[in-house]
Symmetry: C2
Subunit: 284 residues, 2 copies
């Protein structure tokens, strides 16, 4: 069990009690395997390992198991949710992954409770689900932009904890990552989008408006993490100014979680020798 | 336009009129770029090209375009639908791909028309959707196992043609591939699953039962292709005994289809210079 004592999950897990994002340097690279090149190399190896684990988890699901994994990605614009998905989900068989992007709720979604659309997107047995934004938007932009009353926001934290407890009881391992990018780095990335004609579609003038509320968002993240980081479903704060570290770290957090599940290829529930004979003895 | 005159789509397109699968050698490799190694190398290059095209298509979708692509994969057990998905979908950003596996219909699905669950799975704007099995099951196993009356089956062909015409009108480019595996090759693949303890979960004794109906299934495929291969939404018969050919061919068919769409990164719908100034002039 030496591995678990040095797990990245322990290193990046949000502290119990008060959370101060200002105390986490977005440019830091805690427990990185080395520099950029060494970390990218390790990420390839980790991806292969994750791919093997994912196939076993998927096989379990096909054979009646109910375990699955849900990776929740939150972060400010440009923090790299899309980049992480490409890097991490791209390392495994796409058939075993479902990716859900939560955008501004539709009129139909708004007619339901905020968890309604989220419940519908929970990954099926054996799958790895990825949430690109999530139910946390309803206590992040929801809080900052006052899209609901303070009392409603307060209640949502509790609803989220209960919801995630239910998921855990149903066999869902949740890995919640806050991609922690600095305000300065976000500016560089937004400018880069403007400067590259193949990236301008990713830019939205509203992104600049949101920057004026940076501190409010940071505070909303802190409160959300404080209220919803539990023993069973903790938050991880992933320094995200360095893309190579961010991608490796999220992949590693996911890999550690699936490793803990120790999925195994199911044994045959039929007589292998008899089936072999049936095939060999066919008339043709 | 030299490229389009040598397109793989022309080579593999099912003929108008009568279809005879017996006339297509499952071990053949029409228009392959070379031997196994050369073809795999070409597939890597094609995958990079597809990835670029997919990003543009996705960007269009984000920016209000409604075009999308639907890859329909049909074939007997072991024909390699899963392998194709891993190879082809794995080459592009997973965020731009939705994969739907159609299994035996659920009780809820059976309460609706056979296209109900299919309509719900049509890819959104800018996406590449992949169907692992599809509405065609309802005229394949549906016909062979007599799950519906002959009159109902007959009607379904027409409903499928109309449905796919509607999709085409809504901006969906459909690429329908029948992975054509031989009965002999299927036997080898089933035996290989039995002989490998990490693959036994993929084997189902029912697969051997279905082999007894091989000729009926081939006939059902022929009829389905004859009735539903149209100018707008043709079928492609992909020789599938050689996995390297099969994977390359499906990827290439998809790539040709997306190339025809000529997706482009959208121009900015905002004033780039003004937004740049806003960022530069920020107080911080």
């Amino acid at each position: 069990m030496a591995k678990s004592t040095t797990s990245l999950r322990e290193v990046l897990r949000a502290p119990a009690g008060e959370v101060s994002l200002a105390d986490v340097d977005p440019r830091s690279t805690p427990s990185a395997p080395g520099d950029k090149d060494a970390t990218k190399l390790q990420m390839t190896a980790d991806g292969a390992e994750l791919s093997t684990l994912q196939e076993k988890l998927y096989a379990e699901g096909i054979s009646g198991g109910d375990r699955r994994v849900l990776l929740v990605l939150q972060g400010m614009d440009t923090s790299g949710k899309g980049g992480v998905i490409k890097a991490v989900a791209g390392a495994v068989n796409p058939q075993g992954v479902t990716i859900t992007s939560f955008k501004k709720p539709s009129p139909e979604e708004l007619r339901h409770g905020f968890l309604w659309r989220v419940r519908r997107a929970v990954p099926g047995a054996g799958m790895i689900g990825v949430f690109d934004r999530s139910h946390y938007e309803d206590v992040l932009i929801g809080r900052v932009r006052e899209l609901a009353t303070p009392a409603v926001i307060e209640r949502r934290y509790k609803e989220i904890v209960r919801f995630e407890d239910q998921l855990a009881a149903a066999g869902v391992t949740i890995v919640k990552c806050m991609l922690h990018v600095s305000r300065w780095e976000q500016k560089q990335r937004l400018l880069a989008r403007l400067d590259d004609s193949t990236k301008r579609w990713k830019f939205n003038p509203g992104d600049v408006d949101e920057r004026a509320l940076w501190d409010d968002y940071q505070r909303a993240y802190e409160i959300a993490i404080e209220r919803t980081s539990t023993q069973a479903n903790p938050w991880y704060v992933v320094p995200a100014d360095r893309k190579w570290y961010r991608n490796w770290a999220v992949g590693r957090l996911l890999q550690e979680a699936v490793t803990d599940l120790a999925p195994r290829f199911p044994a045959a529930d039929y007589d292998v020798a008899a089936q072999r004979d049936r095939l060999i003895d066919e008339a043709d």
